[in-house]
Structure formats: C-alpha cells, structure tokens
Symmetry: C2
C-alpha cells in the first residue's frame, strides 16, 4: 500500500485554484462603544488637525466639497466623511485575464495575494540580493504555479536592472504574459498608474470605459503617517479612482514610531488616514471602488525596530476589520514577519498574522506569500512555505460532510474492535483524495529523515520551487494582444527615456 501510494505521483501537486469564503464568526476585540470612540477620535483628527495633502489638485477637490484648506492642510468635516463613505461600494469584483480567475472582494470573501514592494530577492542558492527582471519573471512563474495565490501583488521585488521610472511597464507586460491571474498596479504617480490601466485595458480587450464598468486593477496607496498623503500617492489614487479602479488605502501606523505607542492611538490615526483616502477617491469619482487597508504594528521595545506578527499586530488586524465593517468597506490585512530567514520565527509570525487577518474578516490578505525580513525581501522558499499554509487554510475553510457514507459505521463494524482501517474498502475508496496533500511538509520518520540528509522546510521548499518552475507552462495569450502590449510598452519606455534624457 505504501509503495503503491508513493509511486502514484511524483513532484509537487499544488492545490487547484478556488475562491474562498470564511463562514466563521469574526474575532472582534473591540466593544461596539470602542469602535465608535475610535471613529470619533478619527473624525476629530480630520476636522481639527486635518490631513496634510501634497497635491494641489487633491486639495482643490476637498475645497470644492466644503473642506477647509490652509496651505497643505485639509480639514475634513464629518459631513464629507459620511457622504464619501456612503458612496463607496461595499463589494466589488476584479476581472482577470482568465475569467475563471476573477476575484470578489467584500462580505466573507478571502483573497490571498503575493508579497509586493520588497527591495530585495532571496533564495537558498543565491542568497539575498538586488533582483533583476529575469529573476522577477521566475518569481511570477512560481506564483502562477501556485494557484492558492489568488492575486499577484504588483511585483515581488524591484527589477534593478531596469530604469526606475519605466520598469512598471516591463513588469505589467511580464505579469500579463506569465500568469492569467489578477495583478496589482502601482499607485506611484499619475503617469505610472495610467500606464498600468492602459495595459490592463489592452490585456482584457477593452478600453477605459469598459474597465471602469468592470474593474481589473487594485493598487496599494500608502499614507505617510502621521496624517500626510504625499504627491505621488495622491496622484496615483486620483488616477485609479478616476478610472474606476481600486485604491487600497493603507497607512503604515507603526505604534511607537509613526503612531502613538498604544493600539488605540495607532488605530485612531490609521482610521483617520484611511477615511481621508476614501474621501479623495469618492470626490474624484463617487462610487469608485476603494478598500480599507490596515497595517498597524508596533516597534520592538528594546531596539525601536519594527516588529511584525506580534500579538499587537493580531489585535490591530482584527480591530481594523471591525472599523472597515463599520464603514461597509472591503478590508485588507497582511501576513508579516520580522524574521531574516525561513525559520521557525518566520512561520509562527506569519501564521499568527494570518490568524489575525483571516479571523479578523480580511477580504484581502496582502503579502500572503513570500514576505521576509520585515518586508525588505521577497524569498522564493518563503513563497512555497507560505503557499503550503494558505493551502491548508483553504482546506480548513471547506465545510464538513457528515452523512452515512462519511460516518462509515459499516466500515467500523467490518474492521472490528482493535482492528485497523488501512486496507478496508472504505479507506481504499477515498485514499487518494481523503486528506490534504502537502507541498513541503515532511512526514518521514526520524530515521529516514536522518538517512536522507536532515533537510529542513526551507531546503525542501527550494526543491519544490525548482520542480514547479521546471513544469511551468505559460497561460495562452492571443498573439495580437501580446503585440499590442509590446507596442505600448516600447513606445512608453522610449518616451520615459526621452524625458529622462532632457
């Protein structure tokens, strides 16, 4: 039986793509009055201190809505907040190049997205280093090979062999070519966001109107806490909202650094900044989809360094969900860790973050695969290890079956007292699909593990990544679409070069 099973299939077998919903009650660490108190504190911050907004165009929109603008400061009253929150949709769907990969955000949906934004890439073979386009392509292929990763996070790291001002173009092109899953845009300035939108329209065979009526893009918009929205992010937000695409407003409110050294203070600040961002999207285009993003964590008490996957992080992720639901907005949280390698800490901090996010009602779990080193590095082995955990959670979220067949009372009778079920017909009929099949988890006994070299999870993950990449096949793409994308990227890259050369 063991040999039969072992010879049955070789290589990793990632779980198939499936959309997830969380049927369980959310963990809510705040009482209803505490939610209101945070809401009111945020409104006071917005109306009394105001938000510093470094885009004149954005300030004009706020002024036109009746907000008090003095220099860079915009004081936002509760009437504006209420109206904007009311016009933002509670749920939305993002199209993918493959319609079977479209994603729903809101309600009880759960979407897992790969890491976005790190400066570095790392793997066992090459160590931690600045990344290249070709390495980033391999990472996109690996993400495509792991369908539990529902969405690509907008570039797992920077391709530093490409010019900074135009590398988003090559990234978008590679994303369309190498995966059929939904991907994130960049919100770093109006021009880059516009490029992402135009490329998405070409990829989906539509135009800006078509995209506005059925959106495809989401981008993370970070505020500069405390209470500042810089020009590039404000411009990116306005471009996205104007095109009916999704701004995911996410303050990085690190308690003890950019926010007070209390969760209540950090959450009040987070909430104020999210509301300011939500308002701007709705002033640009009422009804534009927008997401409530939470990224509140805390500094390390001894060193002042950022700390992730902490108990405070778990609570903030769950309290953030309560605030997002108070406003009827889809909710984004993240999987995070401070660890420098794919060791036990990287795993327990990531899973505790997931516990915070998933039980907190996150519709989007960003950075859910690959994040390492406080977000400075995207790790190949971490992508695989995280995918294992995400696959396990997806399996856990499936409903249980309790019927005569599953109960198997006849099988129990046949086996008898003290017998075993290895060879019973009931077992053999369901052996191949009865239980979750792991990617990297090891169930060998100790002796065999020693004999075979005492590998750890990270080294097994490196092998799995190689195997997945060796078996990778690109999803089909209409050659005419490919040509059109390529033309666009060439033309725009040349324009950026010309502008840079002036």
């Amino acid at each position: 039986m063991r040999d039969r099973q072992r010879s049955r299939r070789r290589g990793p077998h990632p779980a198939p793509f499936r959309r997830l919903t969380n049927p369980y009650p959310f963990v809510e660490p705040l009482h209803a009055e505490q939610v209101e108190r945070l809401h009111e504190a945020s409104l006071r911050l917005l109306s009394e201190m105001g938000m510093r907004i470094l885009s004149a165009e954005a300030r004009r929109l706020f002024a036109a809505a009746g907000c008090i603008v003095e220099g860079d400061l915009v004081r936002i009253g509760s009437d504006v907040v209420d109206a904007c929150v009311a016009s933002a949709p509670a749920e939305f769907t993002l199209r993918s190049r493959n319609p079977d990969r479209d994603l729903h955000f809101g309600g009880r949906s759960v979407v897992f997205c790969s890491v976005g934004g790190p400066a570095f890439t790392a793997d066992r073979a090459g160590g931690r280093r600045a990344g290249t386009r070709s390495e980033l392509q391999q990472t996109i292929r690996l993400i495509h090979a792991l369908p539990i990763i529902h969405q690509e996070g907008g570039g797992a790291f920077e391709a530093l062999d490409l010019p900074a001002e135009s590398r988003h173009l090559q990234l978008c092109l590679d994303l369309v070519r190498l995966t059929d899953r939904n991907w994130h845009a960049t919100a770093l300035g109006r021009e880059r966001a516009a490029d992402c939108i135009d490329l998405a329209a070409i990829a989906l065979g539509t135009d800006r109107d078509g995209l506005a009526s059925a959106p495809a893009l989401m981008a993370i918009v970070n505020t500069n806490s405390p209470l500042t929205l810089d020009q590039p992010m404000a411009d990116g937000l306005m471009e996205l909202a104007g095109a009916g695409q999704v701004a995911c407003i996410t303050p990085f409110t690190l308690a003890g650094a950019m926010a007070p050294a209390t969760l209540a203070g950090a959450l009040a600040l987070q909430n104020a900044e999210v509301l300011a961002g939500v308002c701007l999207t709705q002033l640009v285009r009422p009804g534009a989809p927008v997401m409530y993003g939470s990224f509140t964590s805390n500094v390390d008490m001894r060193s002042g360094s950022p700390a992730f996957g902490t108990p405070e992080y778990m609570k903030a992720a769950q309290a953030g969900g309560q605030l997002a639901r108070r406003y009827g907005l889809p909710y984004r949280s993240s999987s995070t860790t401070s660890a420098n390698s794919v060791d036990a800490q990287s795993a327990y901090e990531s899973v505790l973050s997931l516990w915070g996010a998933v039980m907190g009602g996150a519709n989007l779990v960003y950075h859910a695969a690959g994040w390492l080193e406080g977000g400075l590095t995207a790790s190949r082995e971490k992508i695989v290890t995280d995918a294992e955990v995400l696959q396990m959670l997806a399996e856990w979220l499936q409903p249980m079956t309790v019927d005569d067949d599953a109960l198997g009372l006849d099988a129990i009778r046949d086996v008898g007292h003290g017998g075993h079920f290895f060879g019973s017909a009931h077992t053999l009929a369901r052996y191949e699909s009865a239980f979750y099949e792991p990617l990297v988890s090891d169930r060998r006994n100790f002796e065999r593990w020693v004999q075979e070299g005492r590998d750890d999870t990270a080294s097994r993950a490196a092998v799995v990544a190689e195997e997945l990449l060796a078996a990778y096949e690109p999803p089909p793409l209409d050659p005419a679409v490919d040509d059109a994308l390529d033309d666009f990227v060439r033309r725009r890259t040349a324009q950026y070069q010309a502008a840079g050369a002036q």
Copy 2:
C-alpha cells in the same frame, strides 16, 4: 533611546503566570444537526458494537448499571450514557502546590500544558536520544522557568536510566520539588495512579478525602481505537475516578489507520470511546471530574504515516469542542507537528494546531510546549519556541483599552503631521511595557543578523534555555513535606524492586 533600552535588562524575561480565558466566539465547523448525527452514530456504535473493555472490574460496573456484557464486550445503551454525562461536572479546579497556580478547567478557560509521553529527548547540543532522570529534571526546571506553561504534562519524556515499573515515583518527587505548578499523573495501571495520588496528598498536606473534595491531579487515559479500552488504562481510570481525580479520556483516532479515512467517521468513533470512558468514571464515582479529550488527526496520503497540524486536525479540534460542549464537559485538545526539527514546518503545524484548539474552545491545550516528531521526542528548543507563541496568544487574549490616555490625541497633535513618536512624552511614559517583549523572536536588521552569525530561531532558543536554567531557583518546599515524599518514594521503589525480583 536605543542604547538606553538595550542596556535596561539582560537575559530572557518570560511573561508572568496568568490564567487565561478566551472571550471570542468559537469556530464551529459542524451544524447543529451534524453534531446530533455524530452523537447518534456514537450511540449506535456503543449499543450495537459495544466497547471492548479488558478489565473485569470495569465490566462488572457496566453490568451492574444494566449494560449487556458478553465476554470482553460491553454494550452501552443511551440511558446509561445520558445518566453518566449528566452526573459529570461541567467545570472543575485543580489545586497546585502554590495556590496562586491553581487551574480552572471548563467554560472559557484556557490552560497550556507541556508535552507528555515522548520516548526521546532532544536538544541542539546533544541531539535526539533516550533521556535520563537528570535530563528530565532539567526539563522540569525549564518548564518552571516559563510561567506561560500553566501545567506540567506528566513527564516530557521517559527517564530510561530508571526502572520502568517505578520511575513514576522519582518523576512525581522531582515534579513536586522542582516546580510549584500543577502536574499530570499517570493512568498506566491502578498501582501507579495510586502512587501519584498518595504523593499529591503528601505534597498538598492533605489526605485522599481532602484530595477528593478539592482535586489536584489529571491523567490522560487513552483508548485503543477502535473501540477498545485496555486493562492498565481502565484500571488507572478507575483509580483516578475513585479518588475524585480527573481522567482526561482521549482516543487516538487517526483517520485512515485506527479510524475511518473520513473526519465524520473518526469523530463518531472518538465520541463513542470518550463517552464509554466518561461512563466508567461516573459508574465508579458519580460526579467525578472527567474531561473530553480529542486527538483526531489523519494519515499521510502517500505514506500512511501519521500527520499532525493538518487542516483535518484543525477541523477535528474544533468539531471536538462542539461535541464536548454538547455534553457539558471540559475539553482537551493539543498542539502537534510531524516535523523532525525546530524548523518552519514545526512552527506552522504547531500554530495551526493552536488555532484549531484555541478557537475550538479547548480548556486544556496539551503538548503545548515541546512536542516534536509526531510526539516521539520532547525538544528543549521547541519548549522555548512554543512558549514564545503561547505568550503571544496570552497577550492577544487580553482586552483592549480605548480611553483618552490610550488614544493620545494630544500626543498626535504635539508630534504633528509627518513627525515621529519615538521621543514623545506619551511614548516615553509607556515604552517599557507598551508591547509584548519576545523570548526568542529576532528583530535585528539583516546586516546585523549576518554580522552576528545568521542564527535561526532554534539556536536562539537553545541560548534562552541555557540562560533560563542558569537563573533557575527552586520554589520553596517545607522540609517535612520533602522528607515525607522522599520516604514514600524510597519505600514504594523498594516494594516495586522486591516485586520485580520475585
């Protein structure tokens, strides 16, 4: 500021002892009808197939209650089950040598207990090996040094330098001397269980009547699935129940091996066996405290090996909680992993198990610190790494504060737009205690981590264990009590030796 913080305290600072309650809604994967269906399937197994019980005394008790006994088989009707479940208490408290360490089981309480039962011990320095009494003493000291471990699990591994039949005596003696926390007894036979009870009475300055009115001991009673209770465990159960101490009835229903290859089948079997054990405790002594234990996991599909910390394990832990609550019994689950070393897998499987147990309403999380290698090994570094996670969960379970002081709006005003909170009075006033302080989690930046030797979590845990053991101080013990314990152990050890020599 950084230097000030760093110089402030040296060495690990474990979190203080505190009792935990879980205020959050439990995860309940079964619908109410599914719970009833499992209940009814269990009753059919008990009344139609019956339980094989290898103790004549136990069978006589069942027969006296009206059950049908044929050979070793005892058919238990629903009337007996109903009456016995009704007489078992919903909650109980266990006394500790230090009354400040008494433990409550039931309702929303959560108790973390160290690993019990492995054959081997392991640490970075000495590898995996058979353990000795002196090594087991060090492990007890380490557990005592980590107050998040509320309860000791009855020996983290076997002291193989002591004779098998009497080593429980030296273990009990060491437990009383080296920690003031509650500890587990052994249920392996009437004589051993009686020794544990007598030693507990001496340690607490009471007698068997005193212990019966205020219990101090719990022991794990494993059934031999499917549907068998062997003689030593039946005898141990009867001794414990007769003395008013707690039997924690825990079938090892491994789906695909000792149970059907479905969660429904494994849970029906688990539930039948727990109910049989609960009945026996109540037939011995109505009102005796007893615990519903769940240990349903699944085999690996490829190899037939046991697998732990799986999605099936999470679901079974949470469904098991629903069954326990249906009967109004305190609930035991566990933290588990199949990993062979303290790597990422060991962490994600353990935390996913905890997610199952804690969100499933477990009152006792057994094996919560130190379990490795499918339960064959107790690992020193895993004790420390697990304690870190348990401390984090304890912190997460604390309520949030949202008042003017915590909100810190004045501090936000003082810091201003784009400023930072490092040096603000609001931060300085709470810096030392604002956030959870880790035991082994690392927040150094990558460069410093590389410079300082690229350690991983397990190697840091080894250092923490050394430091905790170096600082260990035994809790005070009345010399008269110590003498009485020693006398008892000497006398009983000699009796076992004499019996063995016959």
